[in-house]
């Protein structure tokens, strides 16, 4: 069984002037990695910043590690690590200087040198923060979020604009945090990031959670998946269809190329191959197209671009 929720948001509403940024949002995050996924302006940052105690809910309740982020701020702050979307460092400070400083604010910080090494910040040398590359600034912000050995880390778009190597380094660190029992809430609009890292994904749109579950659950719950194979043209599709589960379909869109649409699982694959064996068909190419989180996301949030 999974443990107590680390974050519990109920009916959260947050307005800025006449604009409603978060509109009755419910979210439960448990131990592990939770990705909050959504298009720009969906309310991801507002939700996370309310959990971090930066914003007061207009209505609804927010509990982080069982505490109220505003009222119990003093008790909560040492237990939570925060990575802002940008900034947060004195423009004249060096990376190691700032990281050491944040470490000094904690009772049992991580080894700063090891963390610098781990995140490749050693090359920053004596360069002031404002002259660091975007990737170096991001990694420093990540290091600052974890250096105090928190129980829970909030990462707001931790890999936005990073090159592939730096992205991998960030992902590896998130996996290590998870393995060592640190819970992570991350916002992202990269589907692969959520798919790679998250135990649980919450998709937010227009200020509400519109779907939540493990990446597998979300992909399964979405549109049907497709299995394709090739064989000699003109096979008896009707006979194949009879062998398949009731909610499946099968056809031959191009001669010699067959398509099965339905709930694609190991059982279905076995059914198709054994049907081929019975009919003396050698399926020389067989492929499964599983729906990605991206398909699910676009289906749920609409395909048009939003400003």
């Amino acid at each position: 069984m999974r443990s107590e929720p680390v974050v519990q948001v109920q009916a959260l509403v947050k307005r800025y002037g006449t604009k409603t940024a978060v509109d009755g949002l419910d979210l439960v995050a448990r131990q592990g990695v939770t990705a909050v996924l959504g298009p720009n302006g969906a309310g991801k940052t507002t939700t996370v910043e309310t959990c971090e105690g930066y914003r007061r809910p207009d209505s609804g309740t927010v509990r982080v590690l069982g505490l109220d982020p505003v009222r119990d701020s003093a008790a909560l702050r040492p237990r939570v690590g925060v990575m802002l979307q940008s900034g947060g460092v004195y423009s004249g400070a060096r990376a190691d200087e700032m990281l050491r400083h944040v470490a000094r604010l904690h009772a049992h910080p991580l080894d700063v040198d090891a963390l610098i090494e781990r995140l490749g910040l050693g090359s920053c040398g004596r360069t002031a923060y404002r002259r660091l590359s975007g990737g170096q600034q991001q990694r420093l912000a990540l290091a600052m979020a974890v250096v105090g050995r928190p129980e829970l880390v909030f990462l707001d778009e931790p890999t936005a604009g990073l090159d592939p190597q730096a992205r991998r380094a960030t992902w590896d660190l998130v996996r290590d945090l998870r393995a060592d029992g640190v819970s992570v809430i991350l916002t992202t609009h990269y589907m692969d990031e959520a798919e790679q890292l998250a135990d649980d994904v919450a998709i937010i749109d227009a200020g509400r959670v519109i779907a939540q579950g493990s990446p597998e659950e979300l992909c399964r719950g979405g549109a049907e998946n497709t299995l394709r194979f090739t064989g000699r043209p003109g096979l008896d599709v009707a006979s194949l269809l009879k062998a398949l589960p009731a909610d499946s379909s099968a056809d031959e869109p191009v001669p010699g190329s067959y398509r099965v649409v339905g709930k694609v699982d190991p059982q279905l694959l076995a059914t198709v191959t054994s049907w081929c064996a019975q009919h003396g068909v050698m399926p020389d190419r067989i492929s499964v197209e599983r729906h990605t989180l991206e398909d699910v996301f676009l289906e749920l949030t609409g395909k048009e671009l939003r400003s």
Partner: protein, 256 residues
């Protein structure tokens, strides 16, 4: 959790005095590393002191020019650090999310403000030492009770800090930068720092005398030049500015 890896949670805030000390050290380092800040806090006061003491630019009345100038430059030093420097630095820290990020660290907000004040005081000690040494070399002979001088400097710092933080916490960083420099320049000219207030028309003089910089420079001058007792009226003006400024900053300051 039974795992004990590198990142296994072990949260906790450092002891409060250690956090505040660390923050004060960092703030002071950042201030001393910033070229524009050093121009304001060190170069301009020193230049004014040396230049106006050795070249007869302004008629400062009877007596040694440096005896008139040194108290004014001490007041200017306080204003440059507590007001101008603090306003600009804090304005940009707010703009770049430094205040926001620190607000989610274990350091409480009042701890951050205490550290800022400590950093201002440390800088002022260095400034006062520098100005005093240079003034003494130029032939300054200070009078009066050092404790009264100390009291004036502390109240002056409180008054200017309140106004600086009010500006930094309400205006945009660029507006703070422009306004803080403009105010510095205007008060330098009109606040009895290098130009005696009695050179202004009577009506203007009465108004200028109520400014915190005038109260501080005139108060310091009464004591250091004329050996006067406690200048209650100037202390009173500074106290009013301090209470009003700090209260307004406390109420209106926006952290992001």
């Amino acid at each position: 959790m039974t795992t004990t890896g590198t990142y296994s949670p072990k949260p906790g805030a450092a002891p409060l005095p250690r956090m505040i000390a660390a923050q004060a050290v960092l703030e002071t380092k950042m201030l001393l590393r910033n070229g524009e800040q050093l121009l304001l806090t060190v170069v301009i006061p020193t230049l004014l002191l040396v230049l106006f003491s050795t070249v007869d630019v302004v008629d400062t009345g009877e007596g040694e020019t440096v005896d008139f100038l040194a108290p004014g430059v001490l007041a200017l030093a306080v204003m440059s650090t507590a007001f101008t420097g603090q306003a600009i630095a804090t304005g940009f820290e707010r703009r770049y999310g430094v205040l926001k990020r620190l607000a989610s660290s274990p350091l409480p907000r009042w701890g951050l403000m205490t550290a800022k004040t400590l950093s201002v005081l440390v800088t002022e000690v260095l400034q006062v030492a520098l100005v005093t040494v240079i003034a003494l070399v130029l032939g300054w002979s200070p009078q009066g009770d050092p404790f009264t001088v100390f009291l004036l400097l502390v109240l002056g710092t409180a008054a200017f800090s309140g106004l600086g933080l009010l500006m930094a916490g309400t205006l945009k960083a660029e507006a703070t930068l422009a306004a803080a420099n403009l105010v510095f320049l205007l008060l330098l000219v009109g606040g009895g720092v290098v130009v005696p207030l009695d050179r202004f028309p009577d009506a203007a003089r009465d108004v200028l005398g109520l400014l915190p910089i005038s109260a501080l420079s005139e108060g310091l001058r009464d004591v250091l030049r004329h050996g006067a007792g406690v200048p209650w009226d100037d202390l009173g003006i500074l106290a009013v500015w301090a209470v009003a400024g700090l209260a307004a900053a406390g109420k209106l300051f926006r952290w992001e």
